[in-house]
Amino acid sequence: MLTFARRAFIVVWKDLLVERRSKETLNALFFFALLLLFVFQFAVGPDRERLAGTLPGLLWLGFILSGLLGLGRTFVVERENDCWEALLLAPGDKSAIYVGKLAGNLLLMLVVEAILVVLFGFFFNLDLGAVLPALAVVIGLGTVAFAAVGTLFAAMTAQVRARELLFPVLLLPVQAPVLLATVKATEAVLLGEPLGSVAHWLKLLAAADVVYVAVGVLTFDFVLEG
């Protein structure tokens, strides 16, 4: 058990090191998030009424679009450095690699989401202070689900020809229920309602998290094989 944790951790450590040295992903995602803000502003217009209605959807659209970009790159470093086979050959439970990659992706997505929330608050002049804790819970639960399936599918599509096309095509339909739940819950939270009022959505998200991570851990071996 401890070895598993250590091995998962070393994967996170390695990915963070590589990211810190190359600075590719986080910088690009930050600029992408900024761009999205502009696009949304132009698409929705200055009408504050309309904005309030679409805000939860736009926020999650932003999370998903940046998530797709970030998650799709999960195994790029392995491909570029020719390390995929070496990962497979390293003795030990392969799902530790999945957990490590998942943790890294989670970290990455949460950072980008935090930036997006701050940018949203800034550009659209929102006061999010009071609802921040509740919002954090919803975002956390939704992101785990997204990252869990995203990491698994990223491993699968890493070696396929039309990777950039297949990855979102596979991931988005599966994430439909999570998207429904998170947008509805975010809607309520932004209106100041207590988390209890959306308990059913939160339970759905928690269930999704458990199912997706479990399936990921159990099937990652089969995906890494080749």
Binding site: K14, V18, A90, I97, G226
Partner: protein, 239 residues
């Protein structure tokens, strides 16, 4: 020797789509033995190594390493083997030391700083320990690749053209490193298509042609020219 061979390949066949690469290949490798597999490009040497490394499943036949079937029990086999192939298997943005830390920990180890330093010294990379692999030469990358197996010693080293692209000094170092690996009880299966100094470390020569082993002979006193002649003979026959 009474004990079973460490590696037993029997009737190995591998087909990719319509192309039959290996067909009825038999090969045994004993403990502490080094076998050089000679063959032209495309003859199937890499495929054979990949089957032994559990990266490729045979279409038919079996490959047994240390008593475990490569196709059915790949995880057990992976604990016994170390593969050094065309991919360098190291991360360019990390230093030599960081790479070694990563690979050793992933293999289940808990290397101390001293152990890591010692391993790097064994492959003569101690002075480059904190430099990024991006700045390394081909020889240095190959040595780092081998360093992965100093702390986590496998029973078999599978090498795909290990001397390719190395300068004289690096080749000499590799020869010595492989000899000492063998002396420590390790077995080696080495794929190559040249007849140079890599053969010096081999105990046996197996010529791969037509998808199977056309000739399997102890290297003994054979010179490079002898080997070349034998190769031309058997590779021609099989075509």
């Amino acid at each position: 020797m009474a004990a079973d061979p460490l590696i037993q390949v029997t009737g190995l066949r591998k087909t990719f789509g319509n192309h039959r690469v290996l067909d009825g290949l038999d090969l045994d490798v004993r403990v502490g033995e080094a076998v050089a597999v000679l063959g032209a490009n495309g003859a199937g040497k890499t495929t054979l190594l990949k089957v032994l490394a559990t990266l490729v499943r045979p279409t038919r036949g079996t490959a047994i390493v240390a008593g475990h079937d490569c196709a059915r029990d790949p995880e057990r086999v992976r604990r016994e083997i170390g593969l050094v192939a065309h991919g360098s298997y190291v991360y360019e943005d990390l230093t030599a030391s960081e790479n070694l830390t990563f690979w050793t920990t992933l293999a289940g180890g808990r290397p101390s700083a001293a152990a890591l330093a010692g391993a790097l010294a064994t492959v003569e990379l101690d002075r480059a320990a904190d430099e990024r692999v991006r700045t390394f030469s081909a020889g240095m990358k190959r040595r780092l690749s081998l360093a992965r197996f100093v702390l986590v010693r496998p029973r078999v080293l599978l090498l795909d053209e290990p001397f390719a692209g190395l300068d004289q000094r690096a080749k000499k170092w590799l020869e010595e490193h492989l000899a000492s690996f063998k002396a420590g009880g390790g077995s080696i299966v080495m794929a190559t298509h040249s007849f140079g100094r890599e053969l010096a470390v081999a105990d046996r020569i197996a010529i791969l042609a037509g998808g199977a082993i056309a000739l399997d002979t102890p290297r003994g006193a054979l010179s490079a020219d002898d080997v070349q002649r034998l190769y031309a003979l058997h590779a021609e026959d099989a075509c």
